[in-house]
Symmetry: C2
Subunit: 235 residues, 2 copies
């Protein structure tokens, strides 16, 4: 099944035309039917598969567009796994934590001064937002921080996994962050340890010190776990 779909994707890429905004648009289904020599029903079945794999985007009255498969697949996969039983939210959380630990360690080896500057900026934004009581923006900056760590490593697989898992957990993460901030007593200068732990990560990356990064990111999670009481602890 996979190889056939594979071949189909290749032909579709050929038949697609590039729009002005850079997206690749497929010919209408009725035309594809002629060029691919199959019935519309069969074609639509294949397109549905590709759509569910995140490779296509179909919009009624608009057209069908190619796109790079992304986090959506991972998210739907695990969502449906959850629907079928056998997948608890804390397991998703655990997987994400494990992923972020290695990501951070790997990023520490590769971070450039530009990356460090960007991460510093995001940390500042987070602290400012939190101090101003805008927890929505704080969460956003928090997520952006971790997303940038993934970017540094530059591995598309991590991208997909991180986005997918974090996307699933968005509500959970928001709740965790809120609870941590609510429970915690801010320091003298009004900052929260929940936020300032990020500075340690940035420092480790600035020094390209993988060990320090590992310790810092674990502190990050241990702190949350201790406050919120999540999954398991660390050695």
């Amino acid at each position: 099944m996979d190889d056939a779909l594979d071949a189909l994707v290749a032909r579709l890429v050929d038949l697609s035309a590039v729009e002005r905004d850079g997206t690749r648009r497929l010919p209408p289904e009725r035309e594809l039917v002629a060029q691919l020599d199959m019935s519309r029903g069969t074609l639509r079945e294949r397109l549905s598969q590709l759509e569910s794999l995140g490779i296509l985007d179909r919009r009624q009255g608009h057209g069908t567009y190619l796109r790079s498969p992304g986090a959506s697949v991972v998210r739907t996969t695990f969502t449906l796994m959850g629907a079928l039983g056998g997948l608890r939210p804390d397991q998703v959380d655990q997987a994400r934590e494990m992923l972020e630990i290695v990501t951070t360690v790997e990023a520490a080896k590769l971070a450039t001064t530009g990356d460090v500057a960007e991460l510093g900026r995001l940390t500042d934004a987070m602290i400012v937002a939190t101090a101003a009581g805008d927890h929505e923006a704080g969460l956003e900056a928090d997520l952006a921080f971790h997303r940038h760590l993934v970017t540094i490593v530059g591995n598309p697989i991590l991208d997909v996994l991180q986005d997918g898992l974090a996307g699933m957990l968005r509500d959970t993460l928001a709740a965790r962050r809120a609870k941590a901030l609510r429970t915690e007593t801010p320091a003298a200068d009004g900052t929260y340890r929940t936020d300032t732990v990020h500075r340690q990560i940035v420092a480790a990356l600035a020094a390209n010190d993988a060990d320090a990064a590992r310790i810092a990111i674990r502190l990050h999670f241990d702190h949350h776990d201790a406050v919120v009481g999540s999954t398991d602890d660390d050695a």
Copy 2:
């Protein structure tokens, strides 16, 4: 799109019947059409989506069966990502390595004496097979070893990711292992370091020593990388 599919899956689970071998079998499509009040074409489109997500298994002349989504989704996703460009084999390899590092560390915290015994058994099998020149069996035991580490952690997400990535990399892994064994000079007792590194991992798990496990698994990869010359190195 996801929520609609979600609901459909729930109804399908209701309509399915349990076979004697424990698998859940769906009614024939023509009957589903009546019970779900949609046309067969539309139903088939949905079923195709679920199949591509690894939730269904359709066999012509046989029937349609429910199954837990598994590694296949991850594998096809990343395979198609590769087909669309933007995903190199070494990136898959890197992701797998990163995943195995955290998996091993986590497993060290949770391993029981039974797990340790099983891992010891697999290591023995691997060493014996290698000594006998049966590299196929050696690879098999090697893969089983790492698969059991995932089992110890007991997180279905890791299961899926590990299986998916290792499945994609099967040929690559075989080549790496073969080259490592070919290049390496065996010790006095005829064992290879490629194999014996596993003993260090087992020892770390027996002591529930997460730090030792991390060091051991990194040695494992560093060794391979040094011999074969793969992706990046370690700090």
